[in-house]
Amino acid sequence: MQTESDRDEIVFENVSKRFQLAEGRTLREFVPALFRGKAWAEPFYALRDVSFSVGRGETVGIIGRNGGGKSTILKLIAGVSAPSQGQVHVAGRVSPLIELGAGFHPDLTGRENVDLNASILGMTGREIQEQFQPIVDFAELWDFIDTPVKRYSSGMYMRLGFSVAVHSRPEILLVDEVLAVGDAPFQEKCLAKMHELQSAGVTIVVVSHVGQLVRQFCQRAMLIQNGRLVIEGHPDTVIQSYEDIYHPKELVV
C-alpha cells in the first residue's frame, strides 16, 4: 500500500473501475429490471486493484492494448470519472491532451474557441489574455484566428487544440496517442514543446499502444493488461515484455 507523500502528484491506491455494460438507458428497460430485483447488467472491470504513484515532474508512460484500461486511467486522473473502489489523489492542475479540440464549437472563430477552451482548462481571463499570442504563434494560425473553426483543416484544428492545452500552464499533462497524427514538422514541434514542459517540471503521463513515444520520452513505464497493472519499470524493460506478450516469437526469429 502506497502512501501519499509531498512529492507524489498522482497516487492510485487499489483502484478498481467497474462499468455496467449494456445498461438500461430508458425507463422501459429500467423499470422491469427493478421489479425483477436484480442488477441491470453484468459488471465489467476496466481496472482492477491498480496502485501506483507518479512524482512531481516525472514523465511516465502507460502502455497496453486498446481496451486494456489506459484511457480509464487518464479519465480518473483528469477527474472526469470516479473510481468504483480505492482512492485516487491528484494534486495539481490537469490538462488533458485527449482528443484535441474536443471542446471546439464549429461556428465560433479560432479566437473565440481559444477563450472557451482555455477557460474550460481552468485559465482565468487574464491568463488567457497573456497566453493568447503564444497560443496563436505556436499553432501558426495567424491568418486564420478569426475564421470559424469549421473552415479549418483537421491539422489546423489539432494544432490549435494542442497549443491551447500546452499553454494552459498545466502541472500535470495527460497525453493520449494524439501525437501520432498531424504532419511531421508539427509533430516534432509538439515533441520539442513537451520536452520543454518536461524540463520545466511538469508531470506528464503518456498513454500509448505503441512503444516508440514512451521509449524516447518517458523515465518510467507501466504495462496495463486487462485492467491490471502487470509490470512497472524502465521503459525498455516494460516495452520488451509488452512485445513478448503481443508479438511473440515470430518477430524475433
Partner: protein, 280 residues
C-alpha cells in the same frame, strides 16, 4: 488558478455538509469566466445556421401571442377586465417562454456536451446554468415586444414595475434549481427530456397565463397555490399591469420556494455528477 484551489482530493470525491455545499458553490463562482464563454458559445450556436437568425427569437413569441389572442379573446372571450387581452396574455407568456425554453435547453445541456464531459473536468453545473442564461436573450426580446405592445395600447409602465427584476431574479433561481436535477437525470434516463416536454405542456395550462386566476373555481385554487409559476406570473401581472405591489407574503413565499428548490436541485446534481462521464 490559485494555489488554494489545488487539492490532493479527486474532484469527484465528495463529502456532504453545509460547508461543503458552500465550497462547491464558491468553486462554481470561481469559474464564472467559463460560464460566460459557455453562454456565448450557446448564444452563437443557437440561430447560426438559420436564414433569419435572431429574427426567429421574435417570430416565435409574436406568432404565439397572435394565435392565442385570437383563440382566447375573439373566440373564447376570456374576461380580463379593462386590460386588453394581448397585453394581459403577453405579460404571462414572456416569462413562461423563458421558463419553458430554459428548462428544455438545460435538460439537454449535459448530454449535449458529451465530448467535453468525458475529457475534461470542470464544474458540470456550468452547462445547465449557461443553457438557462442563454435564454435570457429570448426573454429580453420578449420584453421588447411587450414594451411595444404597451406603447400600442397606450399603457405607460406602472410605478410598481421596478418589482419586475426582483421577482424575475427569484424566478430565475427557481428555474436553475429545477434545471440541475433534470440535466443530471437525463443522463441516467433519456426519457427525462420527453417527460419534461409533457410536463411543460400540462404546466402551461395549469398556470394562469391564458386566463386570469379570478375565474378559477374556488375548489381548485389549491392547485394554483401549489404552483410556483402561478405565484410568479400573478405577481408579474400585478406589478406591470395593475400597479400593485406583489405583497410581501408572496415575495417571501416565492423566495423560500426558489432557494429551497435551488439548494435541493444543486445538491442532487452534485450527488449525481461523479457518474456523468460513465453514463454518456
Amino acid at each position: 488558478m490559485s494555489q488554494a484551489q489545488l487539492t490532493s482530493k479527486h474532484p469527484l470525491r465528495r463529502t456532504w455538509g453545509v460547508i461543503d455545499l458552500a465550497g462547491y458553490l464558491i468553486t462554481f463562482w470561481g469559474r464564472r469566466d467559463l460560464l460566460w464563454h459557455m453562454t456565448v458559445r450557446h448564444m452563437r450556436g443557437q440561430y447560426k445556421q438559420s436564414v433569419l437568425g435572431y429574427a426567429w427569437a421574435f417570430v416565435n413569441p409574436l406568432s404565439q401571442m397572435i394565435i392565442l389572442s385570437f383563440v382566447f379573446s375573439t373566440i373564447l372571450r376570456v374576461p380580463t377586465d379593462d386590460i386588453p387581452f394581448p397585453l394581459f396574455l403577453f405579460v404571462g407568456l414572456v416569462p413562461w417562454f423563458f421558463f419553458s425554453n430554459a428548462l428544455t435547453a438545460a435538460t439537454d445541456s449535459v448530454t449535449g456536451a458529451a465530448s467535453l464531459v468525458t475529457k475534461v473536468y470542470f464544474p458540470r453545473e456550468v452547462l445547465p446554468t449557461a443553457a438557462v442564461i442563454t435564454k435570457l436573450i429570448d426573454l429580453a426580446i420578449g420584453l421588447v415586444i411587450l414594451a411595444g405592445l404597451m406603447a400600442y395600447y397606450g399603457d405607460a409602465p406602472d410605478a410598481t414595475s421596478w418589482w419586475f427584476p426582483i421577482l424575475f431574479a427569484i424566478h430565475l433561481l427557481f428555474v436553475l434549481g429545477l434545471s440541475y436535477p433534470l440535466a443530471a437525470l437525463n443522463l441516467y434516463f433519456h426519457d427525462v427530456r420527453f417527460l419534461v416536454g409533457v410536463a411543460l405542456t400540462l404546466w402551461f395550462y395549469l398556470t394562469p397565463i391564458i386566463y386570469p386566476i379570478d375565474i378559477v373555481p374556488q375548489k381548485y385554487l389549491w392547485v394554483f397555490d401549489l404552483n410556483p409559476n402561478s405565484l410568479f406570473i400573478n405577481a408579474y401581472r400585478r406589478v406591470i399591469l395593475y400597479n400593485e405591489a406583489p405583497g410581501w407574503d408572496k415575495v417571501i413565499a416565492g423566495l423560500i420556494i426558489a432557494v429551497v428548490t435551488f439548494l435541493v436541485g444543486y445538491y442532487l446534481f452534485k450527488k449525481m455528477e461523479p457518474g456523468f462521464a460513465d453514463r454518456i
